[in-house]
């Protein structure tokens, strides 16, 4: 693996449990690295603390034990080198699409002319040209999601953290977005840490799939996916080697899912 951008080192996280004296241990010793320019997907059963890892990488939450390093520097304050794409689009409803995408540049003190040019480029890349002056409430769910991604890409963060970004979208929109994300990330050479609960999505998009166990979660496997790019997200089974990669992930992951065997 090339130079590590993010490294999680023996992360442990306890959360106070309501009505109990002892805290609940959510994460119990997880270590892995995200290499420069790599796309790493984290999958795990719900409630296993996947999103918690992203919060730590963004410096919004400090682990109980262990630590996160960003290019060797310990993260112990809000990490402004990252970009965060949340589950819901979370565009600012009082700002137009262009103002939303412009905001990170404005906050970072980028000059006006450059802002305008970069916003236009980001919206163009996200396929949103012509909707600059719409408010988020006037856009469809998929368009809001594109806007949210454009708002993150526009300031070229060192790492992009994505928290189940396509979970709430319908199946068709989702495939289109996966395709676009693959293209955008590849073109930008972006480093991505991507949380999902969808194995197909993880295998299709990622260079590495990190599998977490149920709570208190440990790292079950970190599997490299060596499928050639670009990958066909619309017909996953047509990618050469997809079945084997999927099996490799599923054989580890299935132990974490409570499959009730029905009598035939």
């Amino acid at each position: 693996m090339s130079e590590a951008v993010l490294s999680f080192d023996a992360i442990r996280q306890d959360f106070p449990a309501p009505g109990a004296d002892s805290a609940i241990r959510v994460i119990d010793g997880i270590s892995f690295e995200v290499g420069s320019g790599k796309f790493v997907a984290v999958i795990g059963p719900s409630g296993c603390g996947k999103s918690t890892l992203l919060q730590m990488a963004a410096g919004l939450l400090m682990p109980t034990r262990g630590g996160v390093r960003h290019r060797g520097r310990p993260v112990n304050d809000v990490n402004r080198e990252v970009g965060f794409v949340p589950q819901q689009a979370q565009l600012f409803p009082w700002k137009t699409l262009a103002e939303n995408v412009e905001l990170p540049l404005l906050l970072r003190g980028v000059a006006r002319a450059e802002r305008q040019q970069r916003v236009a480029a980001a919206l163009e890349a996200a396929g949103l040209s012509g909707f600059e002056h719409y408010f988020p409430g006037q856009l469809s769910g998929g368009m809001q999601k594109r806007g949210s991604i454009a708002r993150t890409l526009v300031y070229r963060p060192d790492v992009i953290l994505m928290d189940e970004p396509f979970g709430a979208l319908d199946a068709q929109t989702r495939m289109v977005m996966q395709e676009d994300l693959q293209m955008l990330a590849q073109a930008a050479g972006a480093t991505v840490l991507f949380i999902t609960h969808d194995i197909t999505e993880a295998v299709l998009l990622a260079d590495h799939v990190v599998i977490m166990s149920q709570r208190p979660s440990r790292l079950l496997a970190n599997i490299a996916i060596d499928l050639p790019r670009p990958r066909d997200v619309f017909e996953p089974f047509r990618n050469a080697g997809f079945d084997a990669a999927y099996d490799a992930v599923w054989s580890v992951f299935r132990s974490q899912i409570d499959i009730r065997r029905r009598p035939h």
Binding site: R80, F92, P93, W94, L107, L139, Q172
Partner: protein, 281 residues
Amino acid sequence: MNEIAATAPPPSDAERPRARRRAWRKALHRVALLLPGAAILIFWQWSAGRLIKEIYVSKPTAVAARLYELFSSGEIYPHLWTTGQELVLGYVFGVTGGILAGYALGRSPRLAGIFEPYVMAFYGIPKIALAPLFIIWFGIGIWSKIALAAIMVFFLVFYNVYSGVRAVDRELINLTLVMGASQRQLTTHVYLPAAAPYVLLGMRMAVPYSVIGVIVGEFTSSTQGLGLFIHEASSTYDPAGVFAGIVILLAFVVVANVLAGKLERRILRWKTPIAHAPSDI
């Protein structure tokens, strides 16, 4: 908004009758809106002197005549001027204080933990009971009325702003911090716009409260003002005068409400999505 208007296709011939029908419906709605008011006025006019003695309820034509007389003789102007001053100043002080205090407590859980119980306790006091006290403290002039109106407005605005600021989505704030916002930028780009609907709602609801505060103050003790005018009219058995005073107050509240509504629509234009939004992905 112009862009959207520009991209909408021009109405075709088939759509024209529909537009005309819509205009008709709008006109009909206006008429329907005026009907109940007109009915009340007509019934009032008819019943005065027939069902109830005119000395008790006066009648619309008498009230209108009285209003004309008050304005043409100039008798009402000093009262209007005094009450107007009290209303505007009381409202402005109350709103300003409410926004500042609500925002400060909304942003700082520590401050809120200390001061919220006190504010809650003071909120429970019937403000009208303070009127005599305020007269003693601030005198018989305009300042006692300003204080009374301000304190009534303050609590209303305070609670709206306080809950508005606290309702801001935590994730949105974290997101903005990661994007690179300082505390100050967080205020201008997230907290203020997010709290704006609550602030404006509080401001709109506060208008009638400022009127109540001022009028109660003037009823209690004053040398000039609409409240005093109404009070005197009622103690000299002049119902037309009472109603004339009430009509003026009513007009003030209606005008203030329309202005507040306009302001609200302007500031919150993002809250009113247009019917035809694009639906492709």
